[in-house]
């Protein structure tokens, strides 16, 4: 956003950042704020920046009110709710010029809070809480709801909407509901009495959120697993993927119990480690169940050996990599797209894997379902490459839809009758010319039995150390990866071949790129955009790369992993590619892309001028 925005321009267009101490219950107040704005029909974006810790460390929540419906960060902070004295100084610094800072003035901090261009708003929240509520824990928790009340007055958020939402959360617990509503109203009243409410940045009703939901990507992916008919989920707890299995479990407890017996139509195993998790997924898939494991980068590192086995022995598997900051343990509660190369070529030997790149919780749902179809169609592991930003933040997305005519694609699995008619079954033979062989399941027919192995094997399924026999299978696997191009989701384009400049990106960068395209347009810079949704790269991607003379590859890692993969796996001319990289661990803001593109175009102009 331009810094010189007039106050009237700030209607439904500003950023609230809330600085809290983790473990104090601030999440529910922050979610309440965001959801109230959403219920008023105004698009919002929420991002939670939390520490890898349970209690006592700084944590931030950012709410962007965005009438345009942008889904990325803007890079601004218009009102800082500074509830953590430890981080006051840093929080004040972050406020954009002309902005506000709200703090708990029970303990005044005149020295710390000095900034001419920021309006400081003090509310004695702790004192008000102590005067009204009993018990230390209640006072801490209700202080959060009280600042939500203050913000409601300052930003003109409808109190009735907030009361309704509180009712939905605490409906059955009357005392709790009453004290929450009371705290909300105390805050609201205090602000009305002491400040000139509302501020120029404020919320006003719109109608842009009906038929939308606010959901996180892990929950949406878990729903995808439910709708894909996955019956076996095996996992080892790891941030930020854990909530995927938690959600799956919750859905199964409701929707997967046998109506007569109450018995489970699913199995969830919390494994002893990620090696066992992927092993059990392969065992279950080999035996004909749809199985998956959610994990993050460190888990993928551990799973490598089994992933190679699945590739070579051609066993379906769905792996969710909810990426976090690496290398090593890295920063477990921060986001990145840093496992691209790891996943694309996971395991020793010549291996290549199908990757899907959802851009949002919405796509987490649809691509999860597709991941199971692809894994069984192609008989190979399929990775859904989500990340912490998509996986753990609530995103506003169009309500998910389901087509009841959907039938799972179980791929080439021979039935008992089909096996019966065969003279002999050969597991790894390319009978259809698409490089995908036929499978049989254990327990079906003795003639369909074969020996699954990670050691050298022939197209007939037997052990081999013969070069020719080995190569027949290995070459077919390469052709099978080409076949995969026909099945994976195509890229999404915003303008094709209309501009000399193209932007290439994927996954959670999408929101920032789309906003950047708008911002660039306002500055007279036009670019086409391709969002890649899968690896292997299809012909549509090759075409876009060929059509543009300058290509920016936007991604969230240090080493330009997507650009590397594009360089290795397409015919693109390497010198056309430029990187725009963001790897701070926080989700990318559109400004990163705007600045990156403009800097390169300026430098190019200068280069041209010099050479002239």
């Amino acid at each position: 956003m331009p810094q010189s925005a007039e106050p009237q321009d700030r209607l439904n267009d500003f950023v609230i950042k809330l600085a809290n101490v983790n473990g104090t219950g601030s999440a529910s107040a922050n979610t309440l704020l965001m959801k109230s704005i959403f219920r008023m029909g105004v698009p919002v974006m929420g991002k939670n920046y939390f520490p890898s810790n349970i209690q006592g460390l700084p944590t931030w929540y950012e709410i962007r009110v965005t009438r345009e419906g942008y889904v990325a960060r803007s890079g601004r902070v218009d009102i800082m709710v500074a509830m953590n004295a430890e981080t006051y100084a840093k929080d004040l610094q972050e406020v954009s010029s002309g902005g506000y800072l709200l703090y708990d003035s029970t303990w005044p901090r005149p020295a710390l809070l000095k900034r001419e261009d920021v309006t400081i708003l003090g509310v004695p929240l702790a004192r008000l809480c102590n005067e009204t509520f009993q018990g230390v824990r209640a006072r801490i928790l209700l202080k959060n709801i009280m600042y939500a009340g203050v913000l409601a007055a300052l930003l003109d958020i409808d109190l009735d909407v907030m009361r309704t939402l509180l009712g939905e959360s605490y409906g059955s617990k009357k005392a709790l509901l009453d004290s929450n509503i009371y705290a909300l109203e105390i805050g609201h009243r205090y602000a009305k009495e002491h400040f000139n409410c509302p501020l120029p940045l404020r919320v006003t009703r719109m109608d842009k959120t009906s038929n939308h939901i606010m959901i996180d990507g892990n929950t949406a992916a878990a729903l995808g697993c439910l709708y894909a008919g996955a019956t076996v989920g095996v996992w080892y707890p790891i941030t930020p993927s854990t909530s995927l299995m938690d959600a799956f479990k919750g859905f199964c407890q409701k929707w997967r119990l046998d109506p007569e017996t109450g018995k489970r139509n699913y199995v969830i195993v919390q494994a002893e480690d990620e090696l066992a998790a992927i092993g059990a997924v392969l065992g279950a898939s080999w035996n004909g169940a749809r199985a998956f494991t959610p994990t993050s980068g460190p888990g993928i590192s551990l799973m490598n050996e089994f992933i190679g086995l699945a590739y070579y022995a051609e066993i379906p598997a769905v792996i969710f990599d909810v990426q976090r900051v690496g290398p090593s343990t890295g920063m477990p509660t921060r986001t990145q797209q840093c496992d691209i190369m790891l996943a694309a070529y996971a395991s020793h030997g010549d291996t290549r894997h199908v990757l899907l790149f959802p851009n949002s919780p919405e796509e987490c749902f649809y691509l999860s379902v597709q991941a199971f179809d692809l894994a069984e169609r192609l008989q190979t592991p399929v990775f859904v490459m989500s990340d912490l930003d998509i996986g753990m933040n609530d995103w506003m997305c169009p309500a998910l839809k389901w087509d009841d005519s959907y039938k799972p694609d179980r791929g080439k699995v021979l039935s008992k009758e089909q096996i019966e008619q065969l003279d002999k079954f050969y597991r790894y033979m390319d009978k259809d010319g698409d490089a995908i062989p036929y499978r049989t399941l254990p327990g079906v027919h003795p003639k369909g039995a074969y020996f699954t192995r990670g050691s050298g094997h022939t197209q007939y399924g037997g052990y081999t150390e013969d070069s020719t026999e080995y190569q027949i299978v290995l070459d077919r696997l390469k052709r099978k990866f080409d076949t995969a191009k026909r099945f994976v989701p195509p890229a999404v384009f915003e303008g094709r071949n209309s501009q000399p400049v193209g932007i290439v990106s994927f996954g959670s960068c999408d929101g920032a790129v789309r906003e950047a395209l708008d911002l660039l347009k306002r500055r007279g810079v036009h670019a086409d955009y391709m969002r890649i949704r899968a690896f292997p790269f299809g012909e549509d991607i090759e075409e876009f790369l060929a059509q543009h003379s300058l290509l920016f590859v936007v991604e969230q890692n240090r080493d330009a992993q997507l650009r590397s993969l594009i360089t290795l796996e397409t015919r693109v001319e390497k010198s056309k590619l430029r990187s725009i990289l963001h790897y701070s661990g926080f989700p990318m803001a559109s400004t990163v892309i705007v600045d990156g593109v403009l800097a390169e175009l300026d430098a190019k102009k200068k280069r041209v001028a010099v050479s002239v």
């Binding site: 939901i213 606010m214 095996v234 065992g283 169940a289 254990p442 037997g462 052990y463």
Partner: protein, 351 residues
């Protein structure tokens, strides 16, 4: 050279089991192990046991890790699917496979390296989950495929082929399984088919995790003077404490036993095993006593064999999970998806 199919010529006079199948119908590919390898005797015992039980070949799923032992799943019952996975990770493959289809018989064949070193964690957790499988260790105290390094089951003082003496204390899989809560713990010797076959049958019919640690000498790297896993050493130092006879459901117990000597145990499918105590003071249903007995004998350099411990009552994996009766890989998609109507209900929370 498993791709060379053996000619299946069944002579009409060959005995048939209840399904009308001969022993030949339960064979697998030709073994490529060394001549005289203990593992081949175990393979023969498995073949015999499964034939006698009249299991349909496709009802058996054969799982293994990596090593000489793990190759053997290719050498029996070629009508059942086999899965030769990665080193030490067979238990996780078994866990997933069993989760998907609880109605097959699962037999895992592992070795002392595969189980007690690289795979010790997965072994322990398979026991903890009490997954319904027969887990056999072909235990020879050495790494055969990499030419004779000591394994974690090698005894202190046992000598390698070139004279090197093992100095690390062994991990005994039977002791480990007892302490981890295994519900069926047995030890046998590849050279004692009479003991081994009924144990395999009992293990397959046991509801839960059945371990049989089979002392199975390595003729190439660990069958010399000074080794405690050689044929001659094991023969001289193995001590059967409880002999097991397997009795099929319809069969009658005909043998006569002195009072207090025999102990029948009914398995979940109605078959029985008859335990004959060779040491009358021993009780294979008392875990603590079994443990002490075993430790005392080990200290004397004796391998206790037979069915050391059995518990048919503890719930296996699916009972604990509360899984539905139909194997979940056979549930129709319609019962798995809440459909568009369900989605509407689910999403109301997120509005």
């Amino acid at each position: 050279m498993s791709f060379i199919a053996k000619p299946k010529i069944a002579h009409p006079s060959l005995p048939k089991n209840a399904l009308g199948l001969t022993r030949r119908d339960y064979e697998g590919a030709m073994s490529t192990l060394c001549a005289g390898c203990g593992h081949d005797s175990v393979t023969a015992a498995i073949t015999e046991a499964v034939w006698e039980l009249s299991l349909r070949p496709e009802q058996l799923a054969k799982l293994s890790g990596i090593g000489c032992s793990s190759k053997t799943t290719a050498y029996f019952v070629s009508g059942g699917h086999g899965f030769n996975s990665v080193h030490g990770r067979m238990p996780s493959i078994a866990t997933g496979a069993i989760a998907a289809n609880k109605d097959l018989y699962y037999i895992g064949v592992s070795g002392d390296g595969d189980t007690l070193s690289i795979g010790f964690g997965q072994f322990a957790h398979a026991i903890r989950r009490n997954i319904n499988m027969l887990y056999m260790i072909e235990n020879n105290g050495v790494y055969g495929l990499t030419k004779g390094q000591f394994s974690a089951s090698a005894d202190i003082g046992s000598k390698a082929k070139r004279g090197e003496e093992n100095v690390q204390p062994p991990i005994d899989p039977v002791v480990a399984a007892l302490t981890l809560g295994a519900t069926f713990v047995a030890r046998s010797f590849s050279g004692d088919k009479e003991q081994l076959i009924p144990l395999i049958q009992a293990g397959l019919k046991h509801k839960g995790f059945a371990l049989i640690d089979v002392l199975s000498p390595c003729v190439t790297f660990n069958d010399h003077e000074g080794s405690t896993k050689s044929y001659s050493f094991v023969r001289d130092h193995y001590d059967e404490v409880v002999h097991t006879d397997f009795v099929a459901p319809a069969q009658e117990i005909t043998a006569q036993y002195a009072a207090g000597e025999a102990m029948p145990v009914t398995m979940h499918d109605g078959s029985r095993i008859l335990l004959r105590k060779l040491d009358p003071t021993y009780d294979p249903t008392r875990r603590g006593k079994a443990y002490n007995y075993l430790r005392d004998k080990l200290a004397q350099g004796e391998y206790v064999t037979g069915l050391i411990y059995i518990d048919e009552k503890s719930p296996e994996f699916h009972e604990v999970n509360g899984t539905t009766q139909v194997p979940i890989n056979q549930l129709p998609y319609e019962v798995l998806s809440p459909g568009s109507l369900g989605l509407g209900k689910i999403l109301s929370r997120y509005k």
